[in-house]
Amino acid sequence: MTAQTSQPAAATAGWDIRDIRRVPGIGGFALGCAAAVLILLWVGSDGYKQTLVTSAATYALIALGMYVPYLMAGSLSMAYSAYAGIGGYAVGLISTKTGLPLAVAWLVGPIVAALLAVLLGLVTRRLSGFFLAAVTLLFGMAFTAFLIDAEALSGGSGGLGNLRPLNLFGWTPSHYQVVLGSAVIVCVIAFLLDRLRLSPWGVIVRTMRDAPRAVEAAGVRVPVLNLLALALGAAIAAVGGGLFTYSAGSITPDTFTLNIVFLAIFMPLIGGAGTPWGAVAGAVIAVELTLNFPAIQTSGTLLLALGVLVIMLVAPRGVVGYADKLRTRTWALLRKEPDRG
C-alpha cells in the first residue's frame, strides 16, 4: 500500500494531460516497461528465451486475472486453469473448426470465460475462504475431465494442434513480434489494473475485502461487485491462455493444470501483493526458477515453493513492496525529509 500513499489521489478528478507525472500508476508503468525492454533485449533472437517470455507473459496474465478477485476482493477462486483453458481452446477451435479471423478468438475466449466465471460466481456466491477454494478447484478438475471426454469438440486428450497463424488485415506477425506483443499486453493490463486499484471502484472493492458489511451498508451491492471482479479476472486469464496456445501452436487438456493456479497464487506473494506489478515480477521470477534454472532444474519448483513459504513468513511485502520501500527511503534521504514510510 506504500505506492498508493506516495501518489496523488488524482484518479477522481481526472488528470492534467500536460503533467504526465501526475497520472496515477505511471511510475510503475514506466518501471515495468523498462524491465520489459531489458528482458526483450536479453532475449534477442534466441528461440528458447522467446518461449520463456511468452510463458512468463501467460503466467503473468493468469496471476493478473486472479489479482482483482484474490488480492483486491479477498476471495480465492482457483478455477483459473479453466479460464485460461477456455481462452486457449477458443484460439484452437476458431483456428481448426471455423473460417473466422483468428483475432476473434481473443474476443470470444475472454467473453465465454467471463460468462462462466459469473455463472460459477452465482452458484458459489455464498461461499468464501476454504469452501470457495475447494469448489473452484473441483471445477478446474471437472473442466479438465470435460475436455478429455468431449472428444468431438476439444479433440480429447490429444487436444488441438496445427493452428493457423494470426492474420490482422493482411499482416502476419512474426514469432518475435508475438513475443513483443505479449510483453506489451502484460504491461498494458498491469498498468490498467494498477489504475483500477487506485480508482474509486478499486477502493470500494478493497474495502469490501476488509469490511464487506460496511460496504453493503453504504449501498454498494457486494455480490454484484464480486461477480464483476471474477468476470474481469477470468477474461484476463483467458487472454493469457489464448496467447500461450497461439505461441505454442497447440493445446491439450494438460496445458493449463492446477499447478499453474497454485503458482499464480504465489506469484503476487513473491513479487509483492501491493500492486499488480508484483504479480508480473512474481511471474518472471517463477518462470526463471521453474523453466530456466539449468543447474538444479528438477528442483526449481521445489525451490519456488519453499521460497514462497519463507517469503510469507519473513517478507510479506514481496520484491516490489521492498523495492518501493527502498525508493521512498532513498527519496526521503535525498530530500532530507523525515522518513514517513
Binding site: G74, L127, G129, A145, F266, L309
Partner: protein, 291 residues
Amino acid sequence: MTDLQLWLSAVEMGCFFGMLALAYYLIHVGAGFFNFAIGPYAMMGGLCTTWLIITYDLGVWPAAATAVAVTVGLAALTELAIVRPVQKRSGGGELPALVAVAAVLFAIQQLAGYVFGYPTLPGQSLATFDPVTVGEVTVQPSSLLMIVVALLSFALSALWIRSTRTGRLLRAVGDSNRAAALLGLPVNRIRLIAFVLAGFVAALAGILFAPKAGVNSLSGLAWSLSGFLAVVVGGTGSVWAPLFGGMLLGLVEVFLPYYFGGQAHVYGMLLIALLFFALKPKGLFVRTVRA
C-alpha cells in the same frame, strides 16, 4: 448396485475418505480451520513407505513407522513454522491461513516429487494373510485392514475427545482460541497435538490406501479435496460425522464411474460440493459462509 464386491470397494474408499476427513476434523476442532495439506500428508505416508522399501530394502513395518514419523513431523512443522506465525500476524483472517496451507500443500508435493521421484509407485500391504471369502465377496487383506483401522481410529478419537482431559481441552481451544487463552489453557500445545494426531491419522490412511491404486507425488491434491468434501458433507457436529461423509463420497467414487464412465466421479464430486455448499449453506457450516 447389487454387486457386493463393488459395495466392498465403496466401503473401503469411504473408510479412506473418512480417515482423511477425521484428520480434517481434528484440526478443525482444535484450531478452527481446514488444513488442506491433509492429502499430501497421506501421500507422504504412502509414498515414503514404498520408497524406503524399494531404495533401502527396509522391512514393511520399519518403513511404515518411519513414514508415519516423517509425516507427523511435517504436520507439526506446518503448525509451528507456518500456520502459527501467519495466523499470529494476520490476526485470525481466513485468507492468509488459506494461502499458507495452499503453499504447504504445494511445497510437500514438490518435496515428495524431488525426493521420491514423479512416477506412480505401488503401495505396500501391511498384512499378508490369504484373502478372506465371505459369501461371494473376496476381501483382500489390505481392504480388511483399511476398514478395521478406520473404525478403530474413529472409535479411539471419539473416546479421546469425549473422555480425556486433552480431548475436551481440544474442543475448548477450537471453539475460541482467545477465550481459551484467557482462561489460561495451553492453546499452543493443544493445537500442536491436534496437528500431530491429524498427521498420524492421514499418514496411516495413505499407507493403507496406497495398495489399492498406487501413489504418486501429485495424489495429494485430489485426496485433500475428497477429505474436505467428506468432512463438509458429514458436518462437524459429531466425531462420527466425517465417516458418514466419507462413506457417501466412497459410493460416489465407486458407483458413478461404474455406471456413467471413467470421469463421472469428478463431475459427481463437483455436483455434491455445489449442492451441499449452495443449498445447505446454513446449519453445518454457518461460521465460514459469508452472509
